[in-house]
């Protein structure tokens, strides 16, 4: 590595000796390299792994949805913003998938025993093995619907991560502490767009309202803890989802009035349960796109 290059890309042309890196951002190392991943006392490793997987899948699936805006966003600035938010969430997902794999090494996809945990878990599980909330997987819709979903998702996740910073699991606490800083920016971005569109033209208001109403049915599920989440919350390792509702409602109540939007009626809900592996068809097509290359070429390195 020379120290006098002017461009990040100059280094691509350097000889890299024995280090496996031929293109920038590839040849990933274990993101938890050197981190103590001991499981806290009184917690089943399988529970900790399952819990980490839930939080990882929320971020991974949401990240994939956000990157689908690449080349499709209304303006270049928004495309860059959505891709950046997706990248932050992908980073959180990588750390959490690695945390899941370190807690329970038997967990990764049975089809790919030789891959790092994060790759095996991301690419070699089927839809029924994913544990993300349904909100993360539903189709993007138009830009208004996507920012409505991002507002709901990041408001919920920020409240969750903020509490997770005091987890007895040092890895989850550390991932959460970084995530809080990142998701704070995501929530502000989404909230500002909801206000701008809701308080904009008649057409933008109509589409923002429709986007919010189309997304709201997946809100109730966010506050229902699965058995694993209840056990880990009781052990001061995880977060009780029901306890996030007041903060969530408070933030939404700060956004809707300046946006001129009416709160969706509470009966606007569906029976969904992504945490138990029950998913919509939208996840199947999302995973087909996300996993296709890795499954077609399992031996490939890049």
């Amino acid at each position: 590595m020379t120290t006098d290059h002017d461009s990040a890309y100059d280094s691509l042309a350097d000889e890299h000796g024995g280090d496996a890196r031929w293109a920038f951002g590839t040849g990933f190392d274990d993101p938890l390299s050197g981190v103590d991943t001991a499981v806290p006392d009184g917690v089943e490793p399988a529970d900790l792994a399952a819990y980490s997987l839930m939080l990882a899948d929320d971020a991974l699936v949401m990240s994939q949805r956000l990157t689908q805006w690449c080349t499709n966003a209304p303006e270049l600035e928004e495309e860059v913003a959505l891709a950046n938010i997706g990248l932050d969430l992908l980073g959180q997902a990588r750390l959490l998938l690695a945390r899941a794999g370190a807690a329970d090494p038997t967990l990764p996809g049975r089809l790919a025993p030789d891959l790092p945990h994060e790759d095996a878990l991301a690419y070699f599980r089927g839809p029924a093995e994913f544990r993300n909330v349904t909100l993360a997987e539903v189709d993007n819709g138009d830009f208004a619907r996507s920012v409505a979903r991002l507002l709901i998702f990041s408001t919920w996740r920020l409240a969750l991560l903020d509490r997770l910073t005091s987890s007895r699991d040092a890895v989850l606490a550390a991932v959460a502490a970084k995530g809080v800083k990142e998701v704070t920016y995501h929530r502000d971005y989404a909230a500002r767009w909801v206000v701008r569109l809701g308080d904009g033209t008649a057409l933008s208001h109509e589409r923002m309202s429709a986007g919010l109403n189309a997304t709201w049915p997946y809100v109730e599920e966010l506050f229902v803890s699965s058995d694993v989440e209840q056990r880990l919350a009781a052990a001061d390792v995880g977060v009780d989802l029901a306890g996030l509702r007041a903060e969530f409602d408070d933030v939404i109540a700060q956004v809707l009035p300046p946006a001129g939007l009416v709160h969706p009626p509470p009966e606007n809900t569906v029976d969904s349960a992504g945490r138990s592996g029950r998913h919509t068809e939208a996840l199947v097509t999302l995973l087909a796109e996300m996993q296709g290359l890795a499954r077609a070429h399992p031996e490939a390195t890049w």
Binding site: G27, D29, L90, V171, V175, K181, P258
Partner: protein, 181 residues
Amino acid sequence: MVTTVGNARGGGAQGGTVSDARAIAESVTDPELPMLTLSDLGVLRSVEVSADGGVTVTITPTYSGCPAMDAMRDDLRRSLHEAGYSTVDVRTVLQPAWSTDWITAAGRAKLSEHGIAPPGPARQRAAGPVPLTLQPLVRRVSCPVCGSPDTEELSEFSATACKALRRCRSCREPFEHVKEI
């Protein structure tokens, strides 16, 4: 940001002291902000040399998804290998989380010289829930091209995870700003 622990004589057959190893690690640059060394950026947390000459470097990620972290690990290993340290372990520490407040004064000056506005102080948080910010934050960021204080934010997101996009109202040049985190 750099603390040094370990046997200062170190080296042995591999011929390096801890200060040599530290100097090498400190000089490795960020692949996305190549005007900054890892020391300038505040991600290099410690460099240790064991009695048998093995080097352990500890770094901390900037953003969770920053793809430069993997490149930094590779560059640290290669630079130290080239200097004769055959055993190099690059470890990650996640806590406490990196803040732009850790970018050194020298690092800030280099950012400005290269047309990137350095970050202001990170937001200090009061107790209670993280506050929502519906209006863009008023940041006093001077244009790194003409020096005018009259600049506006175009987006809190830009070409890399750590930067926002701004524009100068005086000279009209767009520029990047390392946003506070």
